[in-house]
Symmetry: D3
Subunit: 222 residues, 6 copies
């Protein structure tokens, strides 16, 4: 029906669509979040976390920090929003879905990205959350934004338990990286400000933060 | 976190969420459609198609017509919106996804539906699009609503090619059932009214309708 | 201006409009509800209430349960949203408004529904809340959804007194049917789950529920 | 439930509700219009029409022009949006509805407006469209805004025939006042600018304007 | 590009735009407020405040009360929403911005308002908040609506401190006019109703109101 | 009122606000654009333009490309949306406004950014559109996104002349950089795809593009 290939134009038009795709549809009641704006916030957070790691002596590849964060959700455009429990139901399913995502991405790059830019976009649209420090920063930044999204509902007294669950699972994910300077900084310099305000289930989450992030517990006990 | 099981209350609360889940997020620019309202429209259309089949002499199980249509998208709530090309990438993937959907539905029924209603909800939340006349009516009604959703954008001059594609694929799906009285009725008594109005790509779609639905072609040639 | 009659096409297009007509405009602050989605939820609730009645030994005409619930608000499209106090100001006014609604519906059926389907749509678009068990189920289901709509605001701490009023008047309406198995089930198995959560004016509503629904009071006192 | 009377506070809170009540729900697809904003626009238009009448030698009571326009739809808050065909179905019904509206307004004034301001609000919330020049200006201004609301959809190519109907009925209403200087001004100095732009059904409406408003026809023929 | 001057048509079309410009973008989470609806509410409040002043013996120019309030924010359309701290950073900047606003308004009047109405619109679109009693009423009414907008968020438990700040600064502005009968009335007959309800930071604001408005303190101490 | 300084927490919370601030309020009718999502799109476009420049032999500082684009509109949060004609009314006013913006940014950095990150944020929140190649890429990317935003309205047949004006002024801004490889690429490989589709005023814009961008004219003449 639409046979004309429009390299880059199609890529750019797809960005408008990501502005219209809401995250976690049906959950946020006070402030919706679209994939485009989320990607911007994650890149902002990654930029700051890289500052912290860099000041702590880590060698940061800044191009990689930005590139990974900026592009990490572009493929949501052609994959859709598969709920996490579905995605992770079995390891075989998970790897099959990953294969399909890879082959759709590959096909998109082949048809919509001009040849001379294909290797750059193969890297950009691939999985960014690898074991490199920049990949770990992306993993953390993605969870910090999710935590703030949940907090935005909790501080306005949204009682739906899903937001407590999201807040908790974000903290659990952060605790996997608790050895990193940037997660220590979140624990000692950002979380206390969040808990300085009143919101629903604050005590419950406060206890969770203390048990999951030892640096937060230490900071609070001083 | 939320250990209390709340049978039926949880089922009813889930309906509010389906009111907030938009269909084809990022595409509709003039009028959004949520899953709850879509389900109502499909049931209305199925009710009418069953009228047509019944007047044509078919034996209709009305309870089944309504039940299938009313419940056909409830599970979108815990499965999410997986884009069709992903879902159908390979037949193995498709069947694995179907298995996951089945086991999540089964688990939901076991934990959130009181025992005495479990067999009814197993039937209601299972796949309704089977080979029975009621299952075929659901398949057709689902596509007729999709066709009207696309038409609602096309008649307001939305030029994005995706709506032509949706309109076409809806017609193709209808043509698979072209032997049925209800599809004949759509071809001879409903499509002509749609084409009586001006909209983008009308000629293109008109030609498609003629080639895919012989009864429409015959009606137009009179 | 628009002389062409478009049977059924016009009926189907009208469904899109019902998706855009919000219930109680100006009141819901957290989640709007449109007439199409409300109709779907009422039909879902009616389906469940009929399960309860059926298990209690009642003879249910399932086609009628679904048909009444599915179509009960379609005529809002050409009648508009007349506030309840206006509608019920005097019994003469109420019956005159009912007459106008009837004659507009009759006229719509005559001009927009093909002759062979007119008797079915006369039944479907007529008053469904009659004295039959299916009519009573519709009356109850309509109020249960209204109660849940109010609860959705109250649980998010909307302090406007109108939602307490709606919650109360829904309970009062349910209490008129308190002899029915389905209302007993609501009182003993659904309301307690609602009151298991914290929300504004919970105590006030809890007392009301106890005074209006003896089965709820009995369940709570065990 | 809410026994405390809160004079004026209740009146002011009601204005927030009018900001949330949309006009013609289900129709406007490009730009919604709420009752509060509509009231502001009508008052702006009335102000201008009074300028024209005044320059033409009419004696204008400016306080009355503003007061009538500003308050003309406040009672929509407790009456609701009754569709015009219902309202005008029979003259008895129309007068009964008017009586109900009057008695609800009266009751509101008695309970929510402090005694010393009751006579002012009885005048303000009463019917403003009387035979005085200020009442006629309100009638015209209300229709001019409705015409602009329809034009806002037509110029963006909304093909739904309802907007042509609204545009036409607005012109018909204006033509009832065609002897007035302000309607002459609309015909000779504002309508031509509207028709200077391209929009759907422009020719049809242009012909209507010429037949209904002789001054427009004369201006165009020069 | 668009050389044709369309007097008054352009003025009226600009009103549609003011319906789409939200006040304090990014702040209101429960109910947005556009400039058009705000202007209507301010005019309503001014009308009431003028009642109070009039009953207190003041001589009110009603045309001026309405005209000032109705038109006081029309120029936001071509000036934009400059944040208050920017506007007031230095007195030179403030007066330069005022000069630019004046010259843009002057230019708009010259090109879009027909000559015979220019003097009226120069008065209407100029600064209305002068030292006359009508100008003071406008200043008070503008703040009362702002206070109600903040209250609408606070009563729904929006914890963002900006709304406390707005509530406080509105009270401070009112206290500058505390000698006026209308502000006394607000202090003694409207504020107590606001504080009769529960909302976030009620005690804090209650104390502020008592310290800023002596008449409120007196009324509460009785 | 809010004395506690919350370094970085305040910076992150501000991002939620930028998600709620719409660009050009009152203009976009089909798809709104918020500042956060715009910033993401500009960074995506800058990333691509830097690819083009790099392949053309330029030495790119990638960290700078990303940093400039990502942060270029963060200060809109405390400055507000001053309309361009106001901003540029006189060169004195423009430089005074720039001074105010600088001093507000400086103050924000001093109070809300921890000392060890202040120099990084001074660079990030300062003016990025300098004469460096990365600064020029930001200038171009900002205009390309604006052009696409206008195109999104034009392709859906929004007839308001403002979008033609925006499209034109974007092209004019691009033509200032027409010597750059990335602008040549836009002219020869992206604009033709835009003009391959039908939209309002296409011919007018096509002629403008040809006169403003010689490389586009050359590409079209082949």
């Amino acid at each position: 029906m639409q046979n004309i290939i429009m390299p880059m134009h199609e890529f750019f038009m797809g960005m408008n669509q990501l502005e219209l795709i809401n995250r976690a549809p049906g959950f946020f009641k006070y402030q919706p979040h679209n994939v485009a704006a989320h990607s911007w916030k994650v890149t902002q957070i990654a930029q700051f976390l890289a500052d912290v790691e860099s000041q702590n002596g880590a060698k940061i590849n800044w191009q990689s920090v930005y590139e990974k964060a900026l592009n990490h959700d572009y493929t949501e455009r052609f994959i859709g929003d598969i709920k996490t429990p579905v995605k992770y139901a079995t390891s075989t399913l998970r790897s099959m879905l990953a294969d399909v995502e890879d082959s759709m991405t590959e096909n998109f790059i082949k048809t919509e990205i001009p040849r001379q830019f294909q290797s750059a976009y193969t890297r950009r649209l691939g999985e960014g959350k690898d074991g490199s420090i920049e990949g770990q920063i992306l993993s953390i930044a993605d969870k910090v934004d999710l935590m703030y999204e949940a907090y935005g509902e909790l501080e306005k007294f949204n009682p739906e338990p899903v937001f407590v669950n999201i807040f908790q699972s974000s903290l659990e994910a952060l605790s996997e990286f608790k050895h990193m300077a940037s997660v220590k900084y979140i624990a000692t310099d950002i979380l206390p400000d969040i808990f300085a305000e009143d919101f629903i289930n604050k005590d419950l989450l406060y206890d969770l933060a203390k048990s999951l992030l030892p640096d937060f517990a230490a900071a609070e006990n001083n």
